[in-house]
Structures are given as C-alpha cells and as structure tokens.
Amino acid sequence: MSGEKIVVHVDIDLEDLIPGFLDNRQKDIQKLESALQENDFETLRSIGHNLKGVGGGYGFSDITEMGAEIEVGARANDLESISENIKKLSHYLSKLEIIYEEG
C-alpha cells in the first residue's frame, strides 16, 4: 500500500457531518478487529453491511465497496478476505484527504 494521500471530493453540505462519520468508521475498525479475533461472523457481516449502506451516501464509494467485501467475506466465513479488507479500510481512512465542494 502506497503512502500517497487518497483524495475524496465531498458535498460541502455534509462538511459538519464528516468528522463524526469518520470517527464512527474508526470505531467500526476497532469493532471489526475484535470481532475478527473472536470469529464473530454475525458482527462482521452486520458492520460490513452498514458500511456498504452508509459510505456511498457520504461520497465514500470505496467504503461501500470495502463494506460489501467484508459482508460477503463474513457470509462465506472467509477470515482472510475480511482481514485484508479491514486493513484496506484502515489504510484508506488514514490516508484520506477530503476536498469539500458544491454538490
């Protein structure tokens, strides 16, 4: 994974919501990691499903895609794929640079 910033353009109307949204995603990563440790596929599926539903609406379609991968992985009990996608999500969030613009 590269060290370059990941630039995402977000609707300026959502600016106030974004810090809270990203905080919640960090919390999701913690929950996902602990669920992964415990092989708790139901929690993994549920969080993956939520990520899938919420990401694109805020402008983060990559989060939707990663969430979908985690959900599919959890349904298939595929720990490797889930783990990889959690790492991808963590990396994505750490490199995120947001540019707000008129929708």
Binding site: D11, D13, L14, D16, L17, G20, F21, N24, H49, N50, K52, G53, V54, G55, G56, G57, Y58, S61, T64, G103
Partner: protein
C-alpha cells in the same frame, strides 16, 4: 417549493439518519428523526407527518411492520422504504403493501430528492403543487410519469392519441391537456364518435348547409369550427366508419373543413386529441382503420394504465369518491375499514375507475355504519349485474340520444326529424313524449 412539508425519517443507523436529515433539510423540508419503528409510531401519535421514510431492516420493528402499522391508522400516508439490500422481492413486497417508493442504499442524493418531491407533489390527500394535475388523483409512479408527459405535451400543439380501457380516465386527461395549453381560453369540445350514426357524425363534425340533406332545416357550423382556437376531443375514434376516416384525414392534412352541401372551405385552428379503448394497431392490421389517419392522430401516444396496474392509487381514489358522495348527499363522510381497502386494492376492476366509483357509491349508500365493512365491499364488487343496464334500459337510452341527435340536425323541425328517422309525425311525437323531449328546445 412553496410549502414546507414535514418528513419523519426512521433508521437505526445514526450516520444514515444524519445524512438523510441534512439532505432533506437542504431541500427545504422539516425533518424529524426516529431510530426505531416504535419511536416513529410514538412521534406520530403527537404529530402526523406528510411523508415517512424508513429503513427496511431494523432491530425490533422492521420497515414493513412500521408501514403496516402506519397504514392501519392513516392509510393514505405515503411511506418510502429504504434498504441496503436491493432485493427485488423486497421491493415487490413493499409495493404490494402500499409503499410509495423503494430506494436502495447507499443513498443517492438526487434520487432521494426527486422521489420525495414526486411523492409530496402527488399525494397527501390530493394536495398537489401542479395545477395541471388538479382533478387527476394518483400517487403511483406510472401515473406521475403520464402526468409529466401530458404536461410536456400540453405546452405544444401536437396531436395526441390516448389509448386505454373504458373507465381509465381518457377524457380527464384530454381536458387536462387542453387546460394546460395555450388554448385553454378557447373551447374544449368532446364528441363520442361511436355514439352517433355515420351521417349525423359527419354533419356534427364538419357542419352542413341549410338544405344539404333531408331535414337540414338550418345551417350547422360543425364541431371543428365551433372548437376553433381550442381543442376537439374525438373519443372512441376506433368506432369511426372508414368512409368518414378519409374525410377526417383530409381535414387534418389541410386544416380546412367543408361543411356538407357547401362549396366553401373554412380554415380551422384546432388541436386534435383522440382516444379509443380499442386496439387501433390491430384495427390497422385488419384494415378497419386507416393507417395514414392513425399515424397522423398518434403523434404523441399516451397509454392510460388499467386501475389494477395502479392499485396504490385505489385508497386515494376511494377516499375521493367517499368525499364526493358525502358532499352530494349532504352527509358525513364514511370510511373504509383497512380490510375493505385491502380488498379493493387486490380486486381486478375490469371497469376501472368508473367501476370503483360505482362500488364506492353503492357501499357508501348502503352502509349503515360510519366505517364501510368488508362484507359490504365484497357484495358491491361481486354484484356486477347491478352495474349493467338491462337491454331495455340500454335501448331506451340509445333511442333518446338518437332522437336528440336528429332534432339537433333538423334544428327542432319535427317533420324533418321524423323523415330522417323514417317515421311519420304522429309516431315521432309519441317517441318524443315517451322520452320527455321538447323539440322547441332545439329550435335556433
């Protein structure tokens, strides 16, 4: 948007809730939120919103159960279901259960705005932003699309052909198009081409000169000229005889009419809207309808859906007919029980809106209680024989219309009218008395 609407948004995921709240507030709506179906119902006890948007899968009460609960108390309240899983079976089930729309997550800002605007424009007890849609009662997408198309067409001068089964509201749309057009200040004249004998139809449409044929005691302007500057609605055009079709085609090509018995032509400026319940494509194939006329009439085709194809409109329509019945009879408005409404929504309605109106009127008249019970609705729907006229009634009705038609042509001259009818004057007077028709009323 002139009016601020109240929206209740329900989702157990706080990020989705915040997003919806922000987007909808930006669109100018007043937004209240609830994190569960139970909380939503509690909030609705205090204040009923104009629209509910709910997630489908939630802990506790899910979106379908919430919608069911909402509709048991307020059957006409629009509900949009949101789901993270775009499963067709969910969407189908939600639609059957009365949801106005089904949107998928992630939320698409534009689709959300459009759907909410759509729903609010056309529902909520018939409150509509569009003057065009006044008198057209609907909330279904299929009708909303038809209204949009008709509005676009109204602004132009093109010829419109409306197809659809009997009782689907073809004339209401024709009138709406006229009203929404620049011609609205000029007359809208409608004629049922199937209800008038061929000879009379020609004279009725194009006019005739005095003495043009036996019984033509005075000059008749004809409907094309009477509708000049406005709209002529040719209903049941499929019933027009072939010989007249060619004459109509010529008029439409030249935009000129020549009254029967006249050598003079008159320019006309008339928009033509035609309609038929018959399959004109098939009639063209079988040679019963001229293809050249068909294509000239069908510049913009509008297809009226059957009532069974827009069953989500049935609660609104039923409510409207109940209101009409109450006002006409100066009585308190009656209501349908939720089971009655379900039954009406699942019925087949071969007679479409007209049949629904008949059933509602019958049930509202017969119901001794304020709430119309399912048993009565069942009876009203099944007793089709009562909705049909007897052969004698139908014959009498035809006879009356026929007599009126020839009296119009002969300008109330009984001897001439009797000649057209092939009866002597005494017999003719007897017929007029039977139908209580006064020939003097037709004298110009």
């Amino acid at each position: 948007m002139n009016k601020q609407y109240r929206l209740l948004v329900v989702d157990d995921e706080q990020d989705v809730l915040s997003l919806l709240e922000t987007l909808l507030k930006k669109d100018g709506h007043e937004v209240e939120t609830a994190t569960s179906g139970e909380e939503a119902l509690a909030k609705m006890e205090e204040n009923i919103p104009d629209l509910v948007i709910t997630d489908l899968y939630m802990d506790g009460m899910n979106g379908m159960q919430l919608m069911e609960s909402i509709h048991s108390k307020t059957p006409l309240l629009p509900v949009i279901i949101l789901s993270g899983q775009a499963q067709i079976r969910d969407a189908v089930k939600a639609t059957h259960m009365g949801s106005t729309a089904f949107l998928t997550k992630p939320i698409d800002k534009d689709k959300l705005s459009e759907q909410v605007r759509y729903t609010l424009n056309v529902s909520a007890n018939g409150r509509k932003d569009s003057e065009f849609a006044e008198g057209i009662i609907y909330k279904s997408n299929i009708m909303a699309e038809l209204v949009d198309l008709s509005m676009a067409v109204a602004a132009t001068n093109v010829t419109v052909f409306i197809s659809g089964e009997t009782g689907t509201g073809k004339e209401i749309f024709a009138r709406a198009i006229h009203k929404g057009s620049e011609r609205s200040g000029a007359p809208f004249i409608g004629i049922n081409c199937g209800a008038i004998p061929e000879q009379l139809l020609e004279s009725e449409l194009f006019g005739h000169e005095k003495g043009a044929f036996t019984g033509a005691a005075t000059r008749h302007e004809g409907l094309f000229r009477a509708a000049n500057g406005g709209t002529l609605f040719l209903d049941e055009i499929g019933d027009m005889p072939l010989s007249l079709q060619v004459k109509l085609l010529r008029v439409l090509q030249d935009m000129e009419v020549r009254p029967v018995g006249s050598t003079k032509t008159y320019s006309i400026d008339v928009r033509i809207i035609s309609a038929s319940h018959r399959d004109l494509d098939e009639m063209v194939n079988s040679g019963e309808f001229r293809s050249d006329l068909y294509y000239r009439l069908k510049v913009v085709p509008l297809e009226m859906p059957k009532l069974s194809e827009r069953c989500e409109d049935i609660p609104l329509l039923a409510d409207h007919f109940l209101e009409e019945h109450a006002q006409a009879n100066n009585k308190k408005k009656k209501h349908l029980s939720p089971e009655s409404l379900d039954y009406l929504m699942a019925a087949k309605w071969p007679g479409n809106i007209r049949q629904l109106n008949n059933v509602i009127e019958l049930c509202a008249t017969l119901s001794k209680t304020k709430t119309i019970a399912l048993s009565l609705i069942r009876m009203g729907c099944q007793d089709r024989s009562k909705q049909m006229k007897t052969l004698k009634q139908a014959k009498l009705e035809f006879e009356k219309n026929y007599l009126i038609g020839i009296l119009k042509i002969s300008s109330g001259h009984v001897a001439n009218a009797a000649k057209i009818a092939g009866r002597n004057r005494t017999e003719f007077y007897k017929l007029l008395n039977l139908h209580n028709i006064e020939p003097a009323k037709f004298r110009s």
